[in-house]
């Protein structure tokens, strides 16, 4: 086992904080230097960091994480309606409720693993989504979405004689650049927390579970409480992201809970590199950038871009390119998704590592067997001997899941 020094972690955290602080200047050259988009980077970054604690560390692929984001949003809006326009009570309520929901869903879902776990979480998330549209309409306001109104009671605010039009943090309105820096501070905190979890004995246990859960069981180790804790933690991160989402845009709708939203966070995490510290944040940045910039393009802009191409070629070229931008950006998204899973299962981080030929970075062959790496590219758990992978039991797709007896 390699030991990562605490100094390296602090340097990483410092660099990350610096990057967040300089965000407006870093992203300005690529046309992303405006607060609304950067807020989204930060918020979905928190979401993906939380998802990574579950998927990256334990390998359990949840397809229902959007439910926690949605519950967080609803809880925050209710807090803005009933308690106060302050952000802190909203965050507290969101994290608490999302954590409780994660506890309930995780308790049931984690009794199964593999694809069954994925389908169970998907089923629960769809259940929440459908309920938000039907039975729970009094709480969620159905298709209209839940919004903050001026006439809402806000008992704490009226008791203190405080009034604000928008959600605030200590009186600062969470909009524009203020909003970005508030989200950014939370993102840095989330990043530091996830760093701490990665380095802790708890994180090590989760990696061991991913590496070989059966062997953990054989040694008399009960893995479920650890898995459940990881699941609840990642649910709470999602709830936190949901609260911030509601604070920057005080309207909560059920479409945030749809399973395509769950798919998106999976994509962000694996695009950046599941199991790495920085990966999810980078993946989020790429996806949200594509979503905002590419979906804004249209044919006129494309024609202007390709004005140097001869006329005869330009028209078909623009027609072809316009399939991938504007309304068609999801097509691009799907193609990126496939390309990453096929060619770069370790995500962007893996690509960067290979580019710089960092030592001890074995090539990741698949998401499932991705060696446990951290940001510095050092293998934390020793690799299995190479003949382990090529033993008969693993060659066989239908028996893929039959865990081979330890050699």
């Amino acid at each position: 086992m390699k030991h990562i020094s605490k100094t390296a972690d602090f340097i990483l955290l410092g660099c990350f904080a610096l990057a967040v602080a300089l965000g407006p200047f870093i992203f300005a050259p690529i046309g992303a230097g405006y607060p609304d988009l950067l807020q989204k980077f930060a918020i979905y970054g928190i979401f993906a960091i939380g998802f990574n604690i579950l998927f990256g560390l334990t390998g359990y692929l949840s397809f229902g994480h959007a439910a926690f984001l949605g519950v967080g949003s609803y809880a925050a809006v209710w807090s803005f309606k009933l308690v106060s326009m302050e952000l802190l009570p909203a965050i507290g309520l969101s994290v608490l409720l999302a954590g409780l929901l994660a506890l309930a869903i995780g308790f049931v879902s984690l009794r199964r693993s593999g694809i069954y776990f994925s389908i169970l979480t998907l089923a629960f998330a769809q259940m929440c989504y459908n309920m938000a549209y039907s039975v729970l309409t009094p709480i969620t306001n159905g298709e209209t979405g839940l919004r903050v109104l001026r006439t809402d009671p806000r008992y704490l605010d009226s008791a203190l004689g405080y009034s604000a039009k928008m959600p605030t943090l200590f009186g600062l309105e969470i909009t524009g650049w203020t909003g970005y820096y508030i989200c950014g501070v939370v993102l840095i905190a989330a990043f530091g927390l996830s760093n701490a979890i990665f380095r802790s004995p708890f994180g090590m246990t989760l990696r061991a579970i991913k590496s070989n859960q059966n062997r953990m069981g054989y040694t008399g180790f009960n893995s479920r409480p650890y898995l459940l804790s990881a699941f609840v933690m990642s649910g709470m991160f999602a709830g936190l992201a949901g609260a911030l989402l509601a604070a920057t845009d005080p309207l909560a709708g059920a479409e945030r809970m749809q399973w395509t939203a769950s798919g998106e966070v999976v994509l962000m995490t694996i695009l950046g590199g599941a199991g790495t510290l920085l990966g999810p944040v980078i993946g989020t940045g790429i996806i949200k950038y594509f979503e905002n910039i590419f979906s804004a393009y249209n044919e006129t802009m494309l024609s202007a871009m390709f004005s140097f191409v001869p006329d005869g070629v330009r028209e078909p070229l623009v027609k072809f390119m316009s399939l991938f931008v504007g309304d068609g950006w999801q097509l691009t998204l799907g193609l990126i998704f496939m390309a990453v899973v096929i060619f770069l299962p370790g995500g962007v981080m893996e690509g960067v590592m290979r580019l710089f030929r960092v030592k001890h970075t074995p090539r990741v062959r698949s998401l499932g067997d991705s060696p446990q790496r951290d940001m510095l590219g050092e293998s934390i758990i020793e690799e299995m001997p190479s003949d382990y992978d090529s033993s008969g039991a693993h060659k066989h797709p239908a028996k893929n899941n039959v865990t081979p007896v330890a050699p």
Binding site: V135, L333, G334, G368
Partner: protein, 335 residues
């Protein structure tokens, strides 16, 4: 009692669709060991085969009708589908029957799509874990549905059943049941029976079943099991496509119909038991009927919103009480 029968009937045709999709999913899973999240997209592609054929057949040309004139005395221009103009009554018949005729188009098209997908993409994922398979097929599903959206637009495109079965059957005074749903039910039963007969009665099917049991031994006997499994994947795509073609008069197809059905059919597969073909069929019909009972007004009054969540609720209960599903085999997808 009438309401009871009606709900069972209502559930059966939806159950037929679930069963067909789940059957294809299970075929792909049982043979290739691949969890295919793009299977719903194949269902959608099948439905758009019907749309394409209908669009091709009803392409209109303008002709001058010599026997009639407009009120102003000039020759009357009429728009006729060119098929009708060329083939006369035959063309009319063809347009009327465009949905069932699409089956003939859908079989080769879906078979080709299935084979290309398997050879071009899925086969590289046999040795990778299920999470990778889920993710790459999820990406594929997004790509397929976005392509369809680019070509056909985002709005649902209604299709009509042939005139002869467009009415409803009055079982009693209170039970009215559209003929097309009976057709769909019969069709799904026939397709399911055909798939089972193919697997049980032919030599090819025997080899495939043997391969599902023990792929290595079959391979050692000198049989090219890979190629047979490729064909089975094509077959699964055809089954999904046919389910989609015939479902178009019930639900106007749009580009995301596949996703909506996919989540449900995965639940069906899990309830039936991963890797069990009879389980998939049984669970498909069962869940279809349960869902239609849950959407009865009396039930909804008692338990509001139950119709929306009943299927997921059942899946959760089944997985916890009987983790292998109703008819699941031992050792499938168990860690």
């Amino acid at each position: 009692m009438d309401a009871f029968i009606l709900q069972i009937l209502n559930g059966l045709d939806k159950g037929g669709a679930y069963a067909l999709i789940a059957l294809g999913l299970t075929l792909a899973f049982g043979t290739l060991g691949v969890v295919n999240f793009a299977h719903g997209a194949l269902f959608m592609l099948g439905a758009f085969c019907a749309v394409t054929l209908n669009k091709l057949l009803t392409y209109e040309i303008v002709r001058i009708d010599p026997t009639r004139t407009t009120p102003w005395g000039s020759p009357l221009e009429v728009k006729t589908p060119y098929v009708q103009a060329m083939l006369g009554d035959w063309g009319k018949f063809l347009i009327d029957y465009s949905v069932p005729v699409s089956i003939l188009l859908a079989i080769p098209v879906m078979l080709l799509i299935g084979l290309v997908l398997e050879r071009g993409l899925i086969r590289f994922f046999y040795k990778r874990p299920h999470a990778d398979q889920i993710l790459v097929t999820f990406g594929l599903a997004i790509v397929l549905q976005e392509i369809v959206k680019q070509i056909f637009g985002a709005n649902p495109i209604p299709q009509v059943a042939p005139h002869i079965v467009s009415g409803s059957l009055a079982l009693t005074d209170t039970i009215v049941y559209p003929y097309w749903r009976i057709v769909y039910l019969a069709f799904s039963v026939v397709v399911i029976a055909a798939v089972f007969a193919f697997l049980q009665l032919t030599t090819f099917g025997m080899v495939v079943r043997a391969g599902m049991q023990d792929r290595e031994t079959v391979g050692l006997l000198g049989i090219n099991i890979e190629r047979r499994f490729t064909i089975v994947f094509g077959l699964a795509a055809v089954v999904a496509g046919l389910a989609g073609v015939m479902y178009t008069p019930i639900l106007p197809p749009d580009y995301h119909m596949g996703m909506d059905f996919l989540v449900l059919s995965f639940v069906v597969v899990v309830v039936g038991g991963m890797g069990s073909l009879p389980g998939a069929v049984l669970a498909g019909f069962l869940l279809g009927i349960v869902q239609s009972f849950a959407s009865m007004n009396e039930v909804k009054a008692l338990l509001p919103g139950i119709d929306q969540i009943i299927i997921y609720l059942i899946a959760v209960i089944i997985l916890l009480v009987r983790p292998r599903g109703l008819l699941g085999r031992k050792g499938v997808m168990e860690s």
